[in-house]
Amino acid sequence: MDEQRRIVMAAGLLSLALGARALAQPRPRTIRVSAKRFTFTPSEIALKKGEPVVLELTTEDIFMGFNLPDFGVRSDIVPGKPMKVAFTPDKAGTFIFLCDVFCGEGHETMNGKLVVT
């Protein structure tokens, strides 16, 4: 009986500890990125290495794509439907993100920079 009680108490303490740890973790920062032919706003995003973030992607006009190849992050951007992508940059440097859905004459210059320090 004592043994059973000890196990139950230990399990309870473990649950509390895990819950407290989860609460202590910062919520990922949300960065809103808006697309319209042929720009992203902002066109430069600064992040800290190891900092979890959520990109909230919207388009002001037509169907677009957001692609950050160096981190394997991509999403369609559908009009009227904010799209969220979560990732944690695991390397420092300057990386290109781009629209990867052909959207017209300025498509080739529709890109931006992710600066991770």
Partner: protein, 297 residues
């Protein structure tokens, strides 16, 4: 015929220094089933008819006609010509798009070749999923055979997201299934089928699926356009060769922060522009690529 052409190319190289031949080791072999005689074809690409930008090309309306004249001046007419996309420069206006496609077709109708095989680029086809392009040039993906070589043209541009799509990949699988294992296969496409520089949109989103199918065949070579420069890459035993543009050159992949056209150099007009001659030899199936200038360089 072949000797005359070779002499011509040698003389051209000696005369201007602007012609060079590259028989790339390991990059241009189509060994396998022998099926016919030597032949040669010409690859033209990325004429972007309708583009305007004097700092990039002050002879925007004259360059394609010059290329047609240069092809027609070859010592022997090619067996056929392939045009690997971006025939026209993109426009939002469907009427203007058709006007450009029509003007392009009129100009290249002057090419002295029995057959010209066309493919779309994203500038031609991505804004209307190839609708206007097909009105002028027909299907966007198809196959043809010439002297024992099986040619497969792929469309990785009508989907604005740069995908071949499940339907076309299934079509490719069925086509390859019907070929002998050692068939000599040439694939023609606009975008690279491999991730050359996804950061610059130089990729095909589902190109790896096509490559997986092609890798099962030992004798495959890919010719493509899109990147406006000569580039040679190997995926295992498969060589990929990109062609120069007939409007403006682009910088080497990821060589500068932005993918912007290289400026016109008045001291070397038409530098970086051109087309290529590809000679397929029956014996050993070797492909020899010769880069040719569009104008005086």
């Amino acid at each position: 015929m072949t000797i005359d052409r070779r002499k011509f190319l040698q003389l051209a190289a000696l005369g201007g220094g602007a012609v060079f031949a590259s028989s790339l080791p390991g990059c241009a072999s189509l060994g396998g089933s022998s099926g016919g005689d030597d032949f040669y074809f010409v690859q033209l690409s990325d004429s972007h008819w309708g583009f305007e930008g004097p700092k990039v090309n002050p002879d925007a309306r004259g360059t394609l006609p010059k290329a047609v004249a240069a092809v027609n001046a070859l010592a022997e007419p090619p067996d056929f010509i392939v045009f690997t996309g971006d025939l026209t420069h993109t426009t939002d206006n469907p009427v203007e798009r058709r006007k450009r496609l029509g003007e392009f077709r009129d100009i290249v109708s002057g090419l002295r070749a029995k057959t010209v095989h066309f493919m779309p680029g994203e500038h031609d086809a991505s804004l209307d999923r190839g609708k206007a392009w097909m009105e002028f040039f027909g299907p966007t993906h198809y196959t043809f055979d010439h002297n024992g070589v099986h040619f497969v043209t792929l469309d990785n541009v009508s989907d604005p997201a740069a995908r071949l799509g499940e339907e076309q990949i299934a079509w490719l699988a069925a086509d390859l299934e019907g070929q002998p294992k050692d068939a000599r296969i040439v694939v023609l496409a606009h975008r690279p089928l491999f991730d050359l520089a996804p950061q610059w949109d130089w990729a095909t989103r589902d190109g790896a699926q096509a490559m997986e199918l092609l890798m099962r065949h030992p004798n495959v070579t890919v010719f493509y356009g899109h990147i406006h420069q000569e580039n040679h890459h190997m995926t295992g035993h498969i060589a990929h060769h990109s062609a120069k543009s007939l409007m403006f050159p682009l910088p080497a992949p990821m060589s500068q922060p932005r993918r912007e056209p290289l400026p016109w150099d008045a001291s070397q007009p038409y530098r970086g522009l051109g087309f290529r001659d590809i000679e397929a030899e029956d014996r050993g199936g070797k492909l020899t690529i010769t880069e040719l200038p569009v104008g005086k360089a």
